[in-house]
Structure formats: C-alpha cells, structure tokens
C-alpha cells in the first residue's frame, strides 16, 4: 500500500513537472504547430536516391501562390535530387516566422520583408558571404529593390518580385459622370475634384482610410516630406514639417470626400477591391497583382493612372517587395541558397512574374517581358522612376511603435477634426521618444 502510494505520488510529480516544462516551452510548441500544417504541398518529380528536403514558406496562398509554385516545380525539375515542401501561411505570418525562428523550426527558405524586425536577436543568416563567394551580380537588380534587402549594413535576402502602387479607375463610371479620364502627372486638387464628381448615392469616387499610413507615403514623398528620417530614428522635425502639414491637409480633404466604408478592420483591402470590381468605387489605390485577373474577368473597363502629384512636386512611388531568406540555424543552408539563387535569379523570377503578376527585380527580365509598355502596367513603371525612398518600416527596428503614434495623430485629424500642426507636433515628439 505504502509503496503504491509512493509510486503514485512520484508519477503525479513527474506529470506535473513535465507539464511545467511543456508550459515553459510554449513558444516552441506553437512553432512546430505552424510548420506541421502546410496548406499546400510541394511536388517531387524524380523518385530515387537520397533526397535533399527543403521547406519553403510564403504568405501567398491560392492564386498568388501559383506563380511561386511554378518556379519551384521548375527548380525541382532541374534538380531532381531536391524535394521542396511549400508551406503557405496567409495569416499572422510574422508571428509564425518569429516563433519558428525562436524554436529552431523555421523553414529552410522563407519570404520576408521586415528585416529590421527579424534581424535583431540573430535569427536570420546574412547572405553577403554567399553572394561574394558565388559572385552573384547584385547589379542585375534594380538598386532600390536591393536597398530593401539591406539592414544594418548586411544583406538578408535576395529579392522575390516587386510592384509599385498606382490608382485603378473604372472607365464606365467616368463616362457616366462625363468626367475625362485622369492622366499621369495630374495634380492633387484635380484628384480631389474628380473624387467629388464621381461620388453620388451608392457610389464613391475613392476609398480613403486614416488607418493605413503605409499607403500615404507616396504623397508625403512627392511633396518633399517624409514620415521619419532616412536612418529611421527621428520623427521630430521630420513628421511635423511644413510640407507635411500641406500633405496632411490634402489627405484630410480627400478623406472628407471619399468613402469611409472600408476604413476599418483587417479585411479592408479585399473589401476595397471587391467594391471597386462591383462598380461601387470609381478609383482604387493598389499594386499591380490582380490586374490580369480583372482584365480576364472582363467585368469592368479598367484604366490605371499614377498617383497625383502636388503642384511643382515630383512623383515618388512606393514599392512592395520582399526577399528570400534563410534562418541562421538552418540545417541545410547550402541547399537553401541554391533554391534562393534560382528563385530570385533571371530564370525563377521570369516564371514567377509571367502573366503580369508583378515586376521582376531583375532588370533584364523586365525589359524582355515589356510590361512597362503595357498600357495598364505603364503607370506602375512610372511610379518607380523617381522612387528613391524605402518605406519607413524598413529603416529601423522600433518603427512599429512610432507608427502607432503617427497613425493616431492622423486619425485624430481625419476623424475628430483635430488641429493639424499641433497634433503632428505632439505625435512627432512622442514617436521620437519611442524610437530612442
């Protein structure tokens, strides 16, 4: 009796202790969870021999995953001893990536864009030595795209694809209202006027949101301003500049005459596209990705124009891009590097950007595809021409807290009608503190 009781006590203690351990390793568990639930599986062409198994993670899913899957299929065809498993994580990507890096269960290759967020702590492998050893010509890429791959003096990824943003417009709604189609180089006031003319019950000229300062950056840049200094550490004297007062006044005016229906929540982008495709919104700010699908569906007569510029300003577009990266503790870094080189290089990026999905970071591929001459894609190429700034989020690791403060200021101005100058002065000082 005594013995069995003792055994039981020990067993309980062991169970409790094991539980504690499991609890403490909680982040490790969730990391494994993320990697064991692939939404799409890779393909294997050849079958014999010892395979090199790689895992590839992306936030793309469904239709936007297909281009990447095509390139991986081609890679496997050329390298029959490889097996690449594709893991698609459309939601909470950063969260999954960071937990998997923390628990050493990260995929061998993953797409990444927010290098200032991932690199502190040393989770990522810098690629400089690989590039040097294999003499990868970084000059084949657009300079600004290469800038996005750098943080803290090192290169953390090879570029995937890129797209700028421009304004889609629905020609039919312009015709109905008797408004001429917008032309590249149009001004801010022309834009606001056009939005007004295209707004009537049940229809809006444009969607404007106070919640997304990411997409406001082209307006700040084109007017000679910025959200934060080039090194990403100072907002005081930058965000509250005279130019920015003008820019914010313009954006507030735009907000006042625009639709606010989609200004909120997580699903806003998709709702916006849907509203545009069903003719409820006449103009829509977006990247080039869905253009080919819209044209194929043939539901609306689509036009595209560059962002409007302030009087005397220069158009400076915004770039969406990302890199293929690998974890510092990867088990098969040489093989991962082979996949990265292929995907980012002329061959891989040509496959991915086929069908007008996006631009290739490799200049020669873009020239061959001739997308810059396509009337619907030309404005996106125009947006890139004078673009010399990288987005605020890629400049310094503490940006996201500062961003919240600037965003609150913009919201107070848009939604509550707060005074522009004093509100951004205070926000610039608060954010400056958060960046220290």
């Amino acid at each position: 009796m005594w013995n069995s009781r003792k055994t039981f006590g020990l067993a309980t203690a062991a169970a409790v202790f094991a539980g504690l351990l499991a609890g403490c390793g909680g982040n490790g568990d969730s990391g494994q969870e993320s990697s064991s639930s692939p939404a799409a599986s890779g393909s294997a062409s050849a079958s014999s021999g010892e395979k090199i198994k790689l895992r590839f993670m992306t936030w793309d899913s469904g239709g936007t995953l297909k281009p990447y899957q095509n390139a991986i299929d081609e890679f496997v065809k050329q390298h029959p001893n490889y097996e690449v498993k594709v893991e698609s994580v459309p939601d909470n990507y950063d969260q999954k990536l960071l937990t998997s890096l923390a628990s050493n269960t990260a995929p061998d290759v993953f797409m990444a864009w927010n290098f200032p967020m991932y690199t502190p702590g040393g989770g990522l492998e810098p690629l400089d030595s690989y590039i040097e050893r294999d003499k990868v010509d970084m000059g084949m890429y657009y300079d600004i795209i290469v800038n996005y791959m750098k943080y803290d003096g090192q290169i953390w990824g090879l570029p995937t694809t890129f797209s700028t943003r421009a304004i889609y417009y629905n020609k039919k709604l312009f015709d109905e209202a008797g408004v001429p189609y917008p032309k590249d180089g149009w001004t801010w006031s022309e834009f606001t006027d056009t939005v007004k003319k295209l707004t009537k019950p049940g229809q809006y000229g444009f969607i404007s949101t106070p919640d997304d300062i990411f997409t406001m950056q082209p307006y700040f840049w084109s007017n000679g301003g910025d959200l934060v200094s080039d090194d990403g550490r100072h907002t005081d004297g930058v965000f509250n500049s005279e130019q920015n007062v003008k820019t914010i006044e313009f954006l507030k005016g735009l907000y006042d005459v625009s639709s606010k229906i989609n200004s909120s929540g997580k699903f806003s982008t998709n709702n916006g596209l849907e509203s545009f495709e069903t003719g409820r919104i006449a103009m829509f700010d977006n990247g080039m990705w869905p253009i080919n699908d819209i044209v194929k569906a043939g539901k609306i007569d689509l036009g595209v124009v560059t962002h409007p510029v302030p009087e005397g300003g220069t158009l400076k577009g915004i770039v969406h891009t990302s890199g293929y990266s690998m974890p510092k503790n990867g088990k098969n870094k040489e093989a991962a590097w082979e996949l990265i080189k292929f995907m980012s290089g002329p061959e891989g990026s040509k496959i991915i950007t086929a069908d007008k999905f996006s631009f290739s970071p490799v200049k020669a591929v873009d020239e061959a595809s001739g997308y810059a001459n396509d009337p619907l894609l030309k404005p996106f190429a125009e947006e890139l021409k004078n673009s010399d700034k990288i987005i605020a989020g890629n400049r310094y690791e503490k940006w996201s807290q500062a961003e919240d403060m600037l965003k609150s200021a913009i919201q107070a101005i848009f939604v509550n009608g707060a005074d522009v100058k004093s509100t951004i002065d205070k926000a610039a000082k608060d954010a400056e503190k958060a960046l220290q």
Binding site: F8, G23, S263, G265, V415
Partner: protein
C-alpha cells in the same frame, strides 16, 4: 452509507487507509484537468510573469529590465490609459445591459405558451455563433452603404448611421454585438426561474402582492445567485474582448475601440514586445481579480441562498 462503513474494518488506521484510497481515486479522476491546468495554464502563466520583467522579441535573448515594463505603461505609453478607459466603459455598458436583457427574455420565455420551446430555441440560437464568424456577420449588418440595418433606417426615412466609423458610435455598436450572446446567460436565468418554488408565489398572492411586487420581492431575490455568477463571468469576458476590435474596427475610429486586450495583443504580435505585453496582461489579471473579489465581497449584502434558510448571509 452507514452500512458500508460498518462493513469495513474498524479503527482509525483503517479509516485513514480508506480515505487515502478514496483520495487517490479522486486525484486520478481530476488528473486530466489537473495536468491540463498545470501544463497549459500555470506553466505559461509563470513563464509570462518572468517574461514581464524582461525585454524580449522572441528570437533574441531576453534582457532583464526589472520593473521597466510596469513603469512604462503608467508613465510613457500614450495608449495605455486610453485603452484601459475604453475597456472600462465597455465593461460597464455590457455587463448591466446583458444581465437586464437576459432576465427580461428569460421571464418572457418562462411562460407556458403555445410553441414556447421553439421560442426558447430561437432566442438561444444566436449565442451559438461566436468569434470571428460573428464579427464578420456584423461587418455586413453594419455596412454603411449596403448593410441591412442602414437600409431599414433609410426605408423609414432615417439618416444612415456610421456604425463603425463614427468615433462617438463605434463603441456602442460593439456593445450591441456583445448583447447578441445574451442567449447563454438567458438559459441560466430560465433554469433559475424554474427553480423558484410556486409556493412562494401562492403565499405572496395570499398576502395580496401584484405581479411587480412578486417579481421584486420573490423572483429577483431568489435568482440572485445566478445573477452573481453571470455578472462575474460576463465581466471577465468583457474585459478580455479583442476579436470584434481585431476584425471590425482595428481599434478605430481614432482609437475609440482600442481595447486593453487589443493593446496587449498588438504589443505582442505587431510590435513583438513580449515583455511589455506580458506585463500589461498581468496588470489586467490583477485588476480582474480585484474586481471579482469586490463583487464576491459585496454579494453577502445582496445575494440570497435559499438553502441557508436565513436569507442574506
């Protein structure tokens, strides 16, 4: 029971052995829960308490910074008190409204009418839909241009309401969504009402009490234990509200629905500040315990337990 004990060997030693054996069975029976509690709750909680004293972004090494995170929330975080205030407003709107509404519906459904079972099912059914699904349904109901609510308002000549984008209205819109789940407490009140003995009502009738008098002097006191339970559970869940803000408003407009839990969530998974996020979560935990304790303490003045036979304790 007495017979069973009599059949066993007499003496305090045997008695102790028997108890020990019973205890063991008890521990075994609750072990699934116990293991789950320790592994999935207590362990991570202890871990998060430790993390709350550090600066940690999940990949790097955690840096011990003492009470730095706790100092920060009270001194230099412009969103901290804002989010706390919004959450308190929300809790003090949701909890009383939910209690009153649930009791009113339960009273209606406590009548013996034709088809009452159908009505009960109908009123309970909405509370089966929860979380993101519920939020998405409401995103369509609240849609300002094409949503059915604004359409109905327009039909009767009323202006459209900016349910989720007017800073003065958004929080109330979310309160209405919370009341959608009134079916669950309603069922509890219904069973509490069924438990009130008809003798009390007969006695009250003989004493000449009308329906209102009966409600306030008989029904209400006798269902106070259920009210206590519901107030505490809905208080806790209202404090932890995050999904509606995450899906519907993103904390906006102008941060008017930026709940405390949403701030905790964003600190952890947008800013990747695990330490600061854990610290804020612990402050909320203590706050909820204090509030629950206060309600429990106050309950001796307003909750009746019939079994005592002495009314208020």
């Amino acid at each position: 029971m007495a017979n069973q004990t009599a059949a066993r060997p007499q003496g305090w030693l045997a008695e102790r052995r028997r108890r020990r054996r019973d205890n063991r069975a008890g521990w075994l029976f609750i072990s699934p829960w116990l293991i789950g509690f320790v592994a999935l709750m207590l362990g991570p909680m202890a871990f998060s308490l430790i993390v709350s004293f550090t600066e940690w972004n999940m990949i790097g090494k955690a840096k011990f910074i003492g009470s730095g995170n706790y100092v920060r929330m009270f001194t230099s975080d412009p969103f901290y008190f804002k989010s706390l205030w919004i959450t308190i407003k929300y809790v003090f709107l949701v909890v009383p409204l939910q209690v009153v509404l649930a009791i009113l519906i339960a009273l209606l459904l406590n009548r013996a009418t034709f088809g009452i079972k159908l009505f009960r099912a109908v009123f309970y059914m909405p509370s089966l839909i929860q979380g993101v699904t519920l939020a998405l349904i409401w995103s369509w109901l609240y849609n300002e241009d094409f949503g059915p609510i604004n359409y109905a308002l327009q039909l009767v000549g009323l202006p459209r309401v900016h349910w989720l984008t007017d800073p003065h209205i958004a929080l109330f819109s979310l309160v209405i969504i919370a009341l959608w789940g009134v079916g669950s407490p309603m069922v509890l009140y219904l069973s509490a009402l069924k438990g009130v003995s008809s003798e009390y009502y007969e006695a009250a009738s003989i004493d000449g009490a009308g329906p209102l008098r009966k409600f306030f002097n008989v029904t209400l006191p006798l269902i106070t234990p259920t009210i206590l339970f519901n107030v505490i559970t809905s208080l806790i869940s209202a404090f932890q509200t995050v999904v509606v803000a995450y899906v519907l408003t993103g904390g906006g407009p102008a941060n008017e629905t930026y709940f405390y839990s949403f701030h905790v969530y964003r600190s952890a998974f947008t800013h990747f500040e695990m330490g600061y996020s854990s610290a804020m979560a612990w402050v909320m935990f203590v706050l909820i315990i204090l509030l629950t304790g206060a309600i429990m303490f106050s309950s001796r003045y307003w909750v009746h337990y019939e079994a005592d036979g002495s009314g208020k304790r």
